[in-house]
Structure formats: C-alpha cells, structure tokens
C-alpha cells in the first residue's frame, strides 16, 4: 500500500497538471462566458463545461510520457505505477465531480448567476437526481482519463508506429460500422435510442469501456520499457 501511495505522491507533487491547470482552464472558460452573459442579456447555454472533460483526456495522455520513465528509473514497480496512477485519477475525478455538483447547485441557487448563464447545470447532462448526476460526471471524467491512458500506454509500448496502426484500425472499424449502419438502415433506431436514453444511462455504458481501457493499459504498462 505504501508503494502505491508513493506513486500517488509522485503524481500529486505535480499540482499544476492535476489541479491548477484544469481549474484555470475551467475558470477562464466560465469567466469569459459570464462576461458575455452580462453583456448579451439573453439566456446562454454554453459548452464551456466540456473543457474539464477534455482536460481529463489530455491528462491521461500526458501522464505516461511525463511520469512513467521517471517512476521506473526511481525503482517503482510497473504494477504499483499503474494502480497508483488509476487511483489518483479516481480521486481526481471524484474531487472534480463534487466540485461540479457544488457549482451546479450554486448556479441553480443564484438563478444562473443572475444572468441566465447555464454553465454547470445543463439540460440533459444534469437531468436526473443528484446520485445520477454524480455518477454521470464521475464516470465520464474517469473514462476520458483512462482512454487517454490507453493512448499514452500504446505510445509507450509501441511508439509512434503503434499509435498510428491503432488509429488506422479504429478508423477502419468506424468506417465499417458507418457503412453497415447505412446499408442496413440502422441510423433511425440508433437516433431513437440516443433520444430516449438519459445521460445517466449513457454514462453507465462507460463502465465496461473504462474497465476495458484499464485492463489494456495495465497489460501494456507491464511490458513497457524506459
């Protein structure tokens, strides 16, 4: 346990990557929207919240190149590195989820910051009860981090060529699925399903995906070298 907490320490010493930068991005996006809200006088529904979600993906991508060679050089086991990294992401997603929920309720309580700015509390995403909203945000943040981690791990193990082949494979699969959907007229049922599914239900689908990503990164990290 001590070894894993050491890896978490290793990550948390980098406060910029895990705290200040995402907070700064979110804050600046919010402030810009708030100013626009004051100026325009109409209700604004903004996608500025997506910045924090995108940042988690980016963090997942950069965490491997930033810390893996360092950790391994400083006698950290690969397994401990993986567990510590994922636990830290779990913790970070938890903190951000709580912050987003808090800000979302402040937004509602202040009548959307007094200027009808819908930044943290958005239709669809914030539908459902508080537990559902919590899980939606949490699973989304975590899954995005883990998908970044998979990208970082593929790069670590197979370098640029591996990443290139993986992206190529992903594109081929997507193209095939699109072609199949068009040929078989699957688009309408797909749209209908999406329309009828809540954000919470959708986010539950992230659970198996996140698990797959975690397993893949673990297997890759176990075989990665400096």
């Amino acid at each position: 346990m001590n070894r894993i907490s050491n890896v978490m320490k290793l990550h948390n010493r980098d406060k910029h990557a895990w705290m200040t930068v995402p907070a700064g991005i979110l804050a600046s996006s919010f402030i810009v929207n708030l100013i626009i809200g004051y100026g325009s006088g109409v209700a604004i529904y903004t996608g500025g919240l997506s910045s924090i979600f995108i940042y988690m993906l980016v963090l997942g991508i950069i965490v491997m190149p930033q810390t893996f060679p360092f950790a391994i050089s400083f006698s950290v086991r690969r397994t401990d590195y993986f567990i510590g990294t994922v636990l830290n992401a779990l913790l970070s997603s938890l903190v951000w989820t709580l912050a987003l929920l808090l800000l979302s309720s402040i937004e509602e309580a202040t009548n959307y910051w007094g200027v009808q700015l819908h930044f943290f509390s958005l239709p669809f995403l914030s539908d459902g009860n508080i537990a559902q909203e919590f899980l939606t945000d949490f699973l989304l943040l975590l899954t995005l981090f883990l998908s970044g981690l998979v990208i970082g791990s593929i790069f670590r193990k197979f370098r640029a060529i591996g990443l290139f082949i993986t992206s190529l494979a992903a594109m081929v699969v997507t193209t095939l699925l699109v072609v199949l959907s068009t040929l078989n007229d699957w688009w309408e049922p797909i749209w209908n399903w999406l329309k009828d599914t809540t954000a919470f239900e959708l986010s539950l689908w992230f659970l198996p995906i996140a698990l797959c990503f975690a397993i893949i990164s673990y297997l890759l990290i176990r075989r990665s070298t400096v």
Partner: protein
C-alpha cells in the same frame, strides 16, 4: 546460496538483427566499487537497464540480490540507478525530486541530502526544466548518494558538471562509501578521474565483455615501451601488443603483459624506456583496436 549482488549469465539483448548485448556473464560482489567502462554504444547502459528491470533481456539469466528484478519490489527498492538521460516531470522542482526520493528509497538520509544540496549549491525551488545541465546532473548525483541503496549505479552521471563539482562528487562518494559500504557501479568516459576509486573493472566492447578484472591487477598488466623502431620491434617480438605509435624513427608500443624482470633488463640493454599505462590509455587502446595477439606482425 551465493551472496552476489548481481549475477548475470549469458545475458543477451537484441533489437531485430542488431545485438546490443551478446551473451554477457559476470557477477558483482557486495560492497565494492565497480567501473563499467567502454565506448559509446558498447552496451553498458543496456546492461544496466536490464539489471534494473527497465529493459527486458532477449535471453539469458539475471539475478539481483538472488532474485529476478522484474516487478520485484524487494529487489527494486534496493537499487538506485542514476543515468545521464534521466527525465523528470516537467513541473517538478528540485525539492520535489528530493522529497519524493525520501519516500521511494528506504535508506534515504535527509540530512545528508540537505548537506549535499548545500555543497552543490542547488536552488531547491527551481524547476528541473530550468536548471543548467550541470545542476541537473547534480540532482541525480545527490539522489544517488543520499539514497544509500545497496546497489547504486551511476551511468555517466555528470554531464555538464564542472571539474570542481566532479571532484566534489568523487570526494563525497568515497567518504560516504567508507562509512556506508555498498555496491557501486560507475560507468564513465572520464576513466582517469575515477580510476583511483575503482576496485574492479569491467570493460564492454561491441556488446561483449573484453576485460573483467581487479583494478590493481589490471593496472599492472600493461606497459609501454619506447625507443628506436628497430629496438622496440625486437623487444615486442612474441608479446601482446595493443598499440603502436611511430614517430619518425622512434616507436612507442603498448604491451598488454605483466612486466617481468627479464623484460625490464632486456629493455634497459636495448636502451628502451618503459612507462606505465594509465587505466584510461589501456581501455582506449583495448577498445580502439581489437587485441593484436602475439608478435610484431604489422596490422
């Protein structure tokens, strides 16, 4: 049960058709200072990466403290490997590296680390990325010394470090080693600077072990002989010649053999000058040209 710190048998690492390390076997004993020497690309760093489980061997056997090092926390926690190319997280400050090392290395001595920071005049709150090359190297050296790991490996640890700080490193290393003996592996190009510290020398060339010998033995195992070309030629007949430097009618030849009394007398009779070879010259000559065995035949 042997008490070798490192035991390597037929260790091989190949990348496709390129063999970086070729069936290397050696052991490292506890509480000794080893010099791992050789030219760039000889395979030194690759070997050290495999010992520390950072790279995987293609074949061969590898035991560190009697166990496989891969994913072995017990073994890994006893190793500190400082290399020139060490990359730190971009946002890390000097104190982040040191404070983290305190939790990662069980034998870490905080006070000693602080005194080393003073010695090397490191700014604790400066980001690693903003450090000069020499300061960057000092951080690695401090970690390597203060971690007091039973197996401490320095791989070209002092890029950009000036002569004063290098001397400081050697002094501190010797001082701390005599107080807290441990196995130290020094890999370097500045052989002359470290030669007085080294107790055992391993020379790697082309992925293979060229020399694996006690440092004292090795120092006495070669000499140079200088004089007129014909006299030198007659003297080196039948000897292992490792170098040959003609200068006009004169010739200086390096002989890889222990100097016997008969040879000394013979050289004196021929009017030849005998000089000792420094470890650095020896390694340079051995790795520069493959050993020309037996006799004065010109290459």
């Amino acid at each position: 049960m042997t008490n070798h710190v490192v035991e390597v048998k037929q260790l091989t690492k190949s990348y496709g058709k390129m063999t970086a390390v070729n069936e290397v076997s050696f052991t490292l004993e506890p509480d000794k200072i080893y010099g791992l020497l050789g030219r760039n690309g000889a395979g030194k760093t690759t070997i050290m990466h495999m010992i520390t489980a950072q790279l995987f061997a293609t074949s061969g056997e590898l035991k560190v403290f009697g166990e496989e090092p891969y994913e072995n926390a017990k073994v890994l926690s006893q190793i500190c490997f400082i290399k020139e190319s060490l990359k730190y997280p971009d946002n890390y400050m000097v104190k982040d590296v040191l404070e983290l090392s305190a939790s990662l290395f069980p034998n870490w001595d905080k006070e000693y680390a602080n005194s080393l920071v003073q010695d090397f005049q490191l700014p604790l709150k400066r980001r690693m990325k903003k450090l000069s090359r020499g300061m960057h190297s000092s951080v690695g050296i401090i970690v390597g010394l203060a971690s007091r790991a039973p197996l401490t490996i320095f791989d070209e640890p002092y890029l950009g470090l000036d002569a004063v700080n290098r001397a400081l490193f050697y002094d501190r290393l010797i001082e701390d080693y005599s107080e807290y003996p441990r196995t130290i592996v020094l890999s370097t190009h500045l052989i002359d600077e470290v030669s007085r510290m080294l107790e055992h020398i391993i020379v790697i060339e082309g992925g293979k072990i060229l020399i694996n010998e006690d440092a004292e033995e090795l120092r006495g195992s070669a000499y140079t002989v200088a004089g007129t070309a014909s006299a030198v030629e007659s003297f080196i007949q039948g000897k292992k010649v490792i170098s040959r430097e003609p200068f006009g009618a004169l010739l200086t030849a390096g002989v890889f053999e222990r100097l016997t009394d008969t040879d000394r007398k013979k050289a004196a009779a021929l009017g030849l000058q005998i000089a000792s070879v420094s470890l650095q010259q020896l390694v340079v000559q051995l790795t520069n040209k493959k050993l020309e065995t037996k006799g004065g035949s010109r290459s």
